[in-house]
């Protein structure tokens, strides 16, 4: 894509207006890795039949152009139709490099481990955007994958095109090397273990480290300012952070945690600012933003796991009593209520996990969808008038969505921390307060 970013910032939209025409014109020239998802291949088959029936000469021209360029590169046009799906999934996913445009990317360090080859460390620029394999690892759409076949040579090897085919409803990527096809596989995930593990500083990890550093810088300087002038009015950064801290304290921590607030307040603050900064950095379209950290289910899963552990490890007698032996409930009903309560222990963190993930990812998908309207209407640069109409439609809507996203970034950070506080508060509540009824 011509700007590998989250297209979610006003600046990007303004730049886009000037860039889209030139970029749209250049779009075909750009060589790209294969985007042949099963849907596209499906469309190709269906489209060919359709074309024979319809009288669209334009469609034939497009198809011919498409075929002619096939050797050089594969464009996103399928039978004159632009399919935004691969672009969107590339943008919301994690990657081993910061893709800027065309073949320009900021490389990131890769730490790859497999049982056979041990540890491989390199920069992702070594893979030359999918043109080279290193120790059986290749880069496919910005993500490192590994050749399964042990007969594939190690070291630096030039490789051909990487193609995606559909085998029994599962996508299989394979690369061409000296006339032979080799299947490649993704890194191990929870529930889907493969032959290797990816411990790289990926895009998301890099951004998380950056956010950590940023938070340290901000909060150490604010803490120093408090230590220096205890009773003075807040200055500079302190003045920006203090209202947020006071708001969290009065709206979230004190009402939910009460007398346990000193113990749990640090976690609530950290989780709030970590999520907020990651949400906001995800809205910046260019490096060092442009990664979708809180829109990644692994990140939100770990955050929810912390809340789950804090809630259940600090849960007191009353908390467990309410789960396994609900007071004031007939014994017959307890048979019904206990399983529901046990499930409730797990659904609370799971809903935390999915809520944050879904909100951020959905926002990004909507913005990317709106931006791809330009290419859908403009047929990826073949119809300038269509692109103009797309821009006229996409710019105000993208702007609107960006404002919504800014609000969502704040609200979701707030929701996550207030729910965490209320779960922990309910689990550690002493009997005296239980009468207020937190159920």
């Amino acid at each position: 894509m011509f700007l590998n970013v989250k297209f979610s910032h006003i600046i990007a939209v303004v730049c886009m207006m000037s860039l889209s025409f030139t970029a749209a014109a250049q779009h075909h020239g750009e060589s790209h890795n294969d985007h042949g998802t099963p849907t596209e291949q499906h469309q190709t088959e269906a489209g060919q039949v359709e074309q024979q029936h319809s009288d669209s000469t334009a469609g034939h021209v497009v198809a011919e152009e498409h075929g002619a360029q096939h050797e050089e590169s594969e464009s996103e046009l399928v039978n004159g139709k632009y399919d935004p799906k691969p672009m969107i999934f590339e943008h919301i996913g994690n990657a081993n490099e910061f893709h800027l445009w065309g073949h320009t990317a900021i490389p990131l360090p890769c730490l790859l481990w497999s049982k056979e080859d041990g540890l491989t460390t390199c920069l992702s620029s070594k893979f030359e955007h999918g043109h080279k394999a290193f120790n059986r690892y290749v880069l496919h759409n910005g993500v490192v994958k590994r050749v399964v076949d042990p007969s594939f040579p190690t070291g630096e090897v030039s490789i051909g095109h990487i193609t995606t085919t559909e085998v029994e409803k599962a996508e299989v990527d394979s690369l061409e090397h000296e006339g032979k096809m080799y299947a490649i596989e993704k890194a191990s995930k929870i529930g889907a273990f493969t032959s290797w593990y990816d411990f790289s500083i990926s895009k998301n990890v890099f951004t998380m480290l950056l956010v950590g550093l940023l938070l340290c810088l901000i909060f150490f300087s604010v803490a120093k300012a408090y230590a220096r002038g205890k009773d003075k009015a807040p200055r500079g950064l302190q003045g920006f952070i203090e209202p947020i801290l006071v708001f969290l304290d009065s709206e979230v921590i004190q009402p939910m945690l009460g007398d346990r607030s000193t113990k749990f307040a640090p976690y609530i603050y950290v989780v709030f600012f970590f999520i907020l900064f990651n949400n906001l950095i995800g809205l910046i379209p260019i490096f060092p933003g442009g990664s979708n950290v809180t829109g990644n289910i692994s990140t939100t899963m770990v955050l929810a796991l912390f809340t789950f552990l804090l809630t259940n490890l600090n849960g007191n007698r009353e908390y467990w009593g309410h789960i396994f032996n609900m007071p004031g409930v007939p014994a017959v009903l307890k048979l019904l209520i206990t399983p529901v309560e046990i499930i409730g222990v797990f659904t609370k963190p799971i809903s935390l996990m999915i809520r944050l993930f879904a909100n951020i990812t959905a926002g990004h998908i909507i913005i990317l969808n709106l931006v791809s309207l330009i290419f859908v209407f403009g047929k990826a640069g073949q119809s300038i008038a269509g692109a103009g109409a797309g821009i006229a439609l996409a710019v105000p809507f993208t702007l609107f969505m960006n404002v919504i996203e800014l609000v969502v970034a704040l609200i979701q950070a707030f929701i996550f921390s207030i729910l965490t506080a209320s779960y922990i508060g309910a689990a550690t509540e002493s009997h005296h307060h239980a009468e207020d009824g937190h159920h």
Binding site: E251, N359, T361
Partner: protein
């Protein structure tokens, strides 16, 4: 195709839910203008809950 229908149905549900929350919050503010801050906070939280359900449906529809 079915995913899109599912997402649309979820949007209807969420629309009704958020409409109810917003409408009742406006009622409450009209009754007690001095409690506008509390009402706004609670409205946002509950709206986020409703929205989350719709987004769960969207995630399922996407998968």
């Amino acid at each position: 195709m079915y995913g899109a229908i599912g997402a649309g149905l979820a949007a209807i549900g969420a629309g009704i839910g958020i409409g109810q929350i917003g409408g009742h919050a406006m009622d409450a503010i009209a009754r007690q203008p001095e409690a506008v801050g509390d009402i706004r906070n609670n409205m946002l939280i509950v709206a986020a809950f409703v929205e989350a359900v719709a987004l769960f449906a969207c995630v399922i529809a996407l998968l």
